[in-house]
């Protein structure tokens, strides 16, 4: 079935990743005025493994593991905060676009299947 296929698992992981991204950008925007707060970003573990050259094929790809990293090397305001609202906003929108694109894709696949399943009942 479609929802057991690799393709579906990859899309599911994508949806999860986009949701986590979105949550993190919200956290950054919420702390726009928190003294000493440093903007945070996500690094996905698979990407990390790939970079280290030891990606294992045993993981099924449907569970997303990510690490939260603090961005230390950007411009810091006098109150010790380095959140850039504009870039956070754009990244948030990016996560939104990725998310809705994947959801549309999944919905499309499901409607294809239901078309096939119901095609003999005219």
């Amino acid at each position: 079935m479609f929802f057991q296929s690799n393709e579906f698992k990859v899309m599911e992981a994508g949806v999860q990743a986009a949701w986590m991204q979105q949550k993190l950008h919200l956290q950054n925007i919420a702390n726009l005025e928190t003294p000493g707060y440093k903007a945070k970003g996500l690094v996905f573990e698979d990407a990390l493994k790939e970079a280290r050259g030891k990606r294992d094929s045993s993981s099924d790809g449907s569970v997303v593991r990510a690490e939260i990293v603090t961005q230390e090397n950007t411009v810091v305001r006098p109150d010790g905060n380095n959140v850039d609202f504009d870039s956070e906003n754009v990244s948030l929108y990016k996560a939104y676009v990725q998310y809705s694109l994947l959801l549309d894709k999944i919905t499309g696949q499901f409607s294809n299947y239901s078309y096939v399943l119901n095609s003999n009942m005219k």
Binding site: I29, A30, L32, E33, I68, L92, L103
Partner: protein, 139 residues
């Protein structure tokens, strides 16, 4: 429902900025208050924010993210002494102590708070769109 936790992040920020606005208003309102309960002029109050940590590993530890108010600090800047011998609160030399509130400073703070509030509202509209998208997925 897990995805509603996201709204808590934006919600906490909106609450915090709202509270900050209230404190700024309080400062402006008391700009000329020469006496308070403890006998001295009104002291300028300042809200200090603190991050509420966010974690994806410890979903159950209530690490749900957002921002919270750490404290409301009273400014220990000097009071403004104004010569006004006819004032009921004037001392022997005719000086009255006025609060250490600077209206310009408060107005700038107010602008910052309102900008941050709006920024979070913009973010909220994106979250709302995402949640709607999720709910309408199987239509």
């Amino acid at each position: 429902m897990a995805f509603l936790g996201t709204l808590d992040i934006v919600g906490s920020a909106l609450t915090a900025e709202r509270y900050r606005t209230d404190v700024i208003m309080q400062n402006i309102a008391n700009e000329k208050t020469t006496i308070t309960e403890n006998g001295e002029p009104y002291r300028r109050k300042q809200v200090v924010f603190q991050e509420r940590p966010l974690s994806f590993q410890e979903e159950l530890n209530k690490a749900k993210g957002g921002v919270r108010i750490a404290e409301v600090r009273e400014s220990d800047r000097e009071f403004k002494a104004v010569y006004d011998p006819t004032h009921p609160q004037a001392d022997e030399e005719g000086y009255v102590l006025y609060p250490n509130v600077d209206t310009t400073e408060e107005m700038i703070d107010l602008m910052a708070a309102s900008n941050a509030y709006e920024a979070n509202l913009t973010a909220l509209s994106v979250v709302k769109a995402m949640i709607t998208k999720t709910l309408e997925m199987n239509k």
